[in-house]
Subunit: 406 residues, 2 copies
């Protein structure tokens, strides 16, 4: 299946800052794909702290279970992250555990790091044995070709149904010194809150203890990666790793500027995942305000964002606000027909339990022709709010997913 690049893709892969203490390499191991790279290795300098957030799936992969067990290990001897695309190694029984062990062992030997500091991810089809020997056969060449400026290659090697490589980064000055952050992501279908088919790796040369790094990452995941949804499905493999090498020599513990910069990189990557939603032609931002609680607001936002009827209406450029009302109603959150206000962008659509007097179908239809649609529901009850991002549901989503394995 040949796929065109998503119409919502950024113009190109960004120029990312070099992050001290990280080197990348990639290889074409032929796990499933041909004529492309499908393995990436990231080597992390001694002293690197690693934080992670993972899928909550009860059927998560061996790789995820292994990564979760390894967080918080001794950073003194360095670390590595090795990722393959084409096969998720999920639901592959005991053999899956063996594949993880084999890959970690070979990587540890080649780089001279302890096996319990090697983190792996696998992404692709579920339930087929991972031919891990194709990966371990490539470890020595991967170890020999490591380079600090190869993050774009790394982003390409982890793509599956992605139509573009995803990267984001920034540099900031703290106490006269530069701190760099650069991240890559993959993910398009099967994206839902609580970490869906997403792999995200973010690197920084900031200096920070693992527990503080984990707190930052966990706090920022809710409003970024856990606020995007493509099809409400949740994968078995989702992994977000954040590595801080300390190479900048700048301690960022408690630094608000660093926290904000990290948040921005995470949000940028999260939005890129949505922009590559399978078949997407519209980027949809769902804002909910005035809810009884923050949790109610998120319930409503997700009900709107996951509604197939809302998503197909947006695909059809139909300002069908009745479906937004329907989604608010079904969410399970406290809501009142007569205090609900709905806006499309800045256009007031409905209020006081009915269509707004000033609203015209023409204005709504014109707004829907854009490719960044903001649906704003104010429940008029209290101060709970939440924003989530999704994309429309199109014929191409069906085409991509009805014959993914063929």
């Amino acid at each position: 299946m040949t796929q065109k690049v998503s119409p919502l893709a950024p113009k190109g892969f960004p120029t990312l800052p070099l992050v001290g203490g990280v080197r990348f390499s990639t290889a074409a191991a032929g796990i499933k794909y041909t004529n492309r790279t499908d393995v990436m290795l990231a080597e992390l300098a001694p002293g690197t702290a690693i934080a992670g957030v993972f899928t909550t799936s009860a059927t998560r992969s061996s790789n995820v279970l292994d990564c979760q067990a390894k967080l918080g290990g001794d950073p003194s001897a360095g670390a590595a992250i090795i990722v393959n695309s084409g096969n998720s190694n999920a639901f592959t029984g005991k053999a899956g555990d063996g594949s993880v062990e084999a890959i970690c062992g070979a990587t540890a030997t080649a780089l001279g790091v302890p096996p319990n500091r090697v983190f792996t991810s696998s992404t692709g089809v579920i339930g087929e044995r991972l031919p891990h020997e194709r990966i371990t056969d490539k470890i020595s060449v991967l170890a020999e070709t490591l380079a600090g400026d190869a993050i774009h290659d790394a982003a390409q090697a982890i793509m599956t149904t992605d139509t573009f490589a995803k990267g984001a980064g920034t540099s900031l000055t703290i106490g006269g010194k530069t701190v760099n952050i650069a991240g890559i992501a993959k993910g398009s279908g099967m994206i839902a809150p609580d970490m869906a088919t997403m792999l995200v790796y973010i690197f920084t040369d900031a200096q920070i203890a693992q527990t503080d790094l984990q707190s930052l990452l966990s706090a920022h995941t809710g409003p970024t990666f856990n606020s995007i949804t493509v099809d409400s499905d949740t994968s078995t493999s989702d992994t977000l790793l954040l590595a801080a090498t300390g190479a900048s020599g700048v301690d960022v513990t408690g630094n608000a500027a660093f926290s904000t910069a990290l948040f921005d990189v995470m949000q940028d990557l999260a939005h890129q995942v949505v922009r590559d939603g399978e078949g997407a032609t519209k980027f949809i931002e769902v804002r909910v305000t005035g809810a009884a609680t923050g949790s109610d607001a998120k319930k409503v936002a997700l009900a709107i964002a996951n509604s197939p009827l809302v998503k197909t209406a947006v695909a059809g450029e139909d300002p069908n606000w009745g479906r937004v009302v329907m989604a608010v109603g079904k969410s399970g959150a406290q809501a009142d027909r007569d205090t609900l206000t709905i806006r499309f962008g800045s256009i007031l659509v409905a209020e006081n339990g009915w269509v707004a007097e000033s609203y015209t179908e023409e204005a709504g239809a014109a707004y829907m022709k854009g490719d960044h649609i903001v649906i704003h529901a104010d429940l008029g009850l209290s101060n709970g709010q939440s924003t989530v991002w999704t994309c429309d549901l199109t014929h191409d989503y069906i085409s991509i997913n009805a014959d993914y394995r063929s």
Copy 2:
């Protein structure tokens, strides 16, 4: 938009038994549709007990709120049900309440029943004022043309995006006398548990007190209408009314045969709604067994049945059991990779945390070519079980819903 009849439709509308004490009429009021009927009236004899189950949406329509308030009224003076298609009268503010009052008032006057014994439903587009005067203008002709054998016409008048009229019924002999049950339904998209875009009217000439009738109806709704899902969306209008006229003279209080017959009619209608799911080409039965609890089983069954990735795989005749594993994992129910067993029909697909040794992709692919697909997940934990029904997700679903209003 011209729609072909669903490939999953029954061969034709069934021959339904006449139910004593009920007469039907229909009219073409031109509410939205042209060249077809769009209002149906059912007149119910004095003494008729009426039970109901309704949408739980927080934005439910004026009609639903009105019906809920009227259950349990005095049956001695008779009753009526009047339903229109083309406009849902939902989210139409105070005007919506006025429309219900106008329709109930006119119907009550024409039939000589109290206004608080007139039940109304409206189905169709949300948020546009119901031109109720087009309905009230037809009340006298509706009252003059009532007939006991017009239930098929009634089923046709309440259709919206339905591609076939839905009816089911049965007769049974109790104490040497015949008791009849006949029901009609409409609903295709926006069908989800807890009563989605579904209107269902079931009539029987059995004799039973309102509270007993309500208990029966409520008990049977869980495993029938609340176990079907088309797109996980929930409508603002769903209404299930059951009217018992008593005309047979047979008291069915506590009668198991009557209860079973009613259950079968409800299940038949529920399945017909799924078979008319927008764009459906496959009827999917999801059976979950071995769950920790019944509620966990239903969670898993709904996670599978509502997964866009599972539904598109079935549409593509792809035995992609990995997506079933994914859905089990995301459901939130207790599950264990290594005790999970998956079957497609009688084909053992996966067990012990991996694909079954006996499974072949050819056997799975051949099974998927059928139009009644059974997905069976046994969690291997305890005795909780649940069955839900859904349909596949196809290009036609997108086509129907991307331009429903145009």
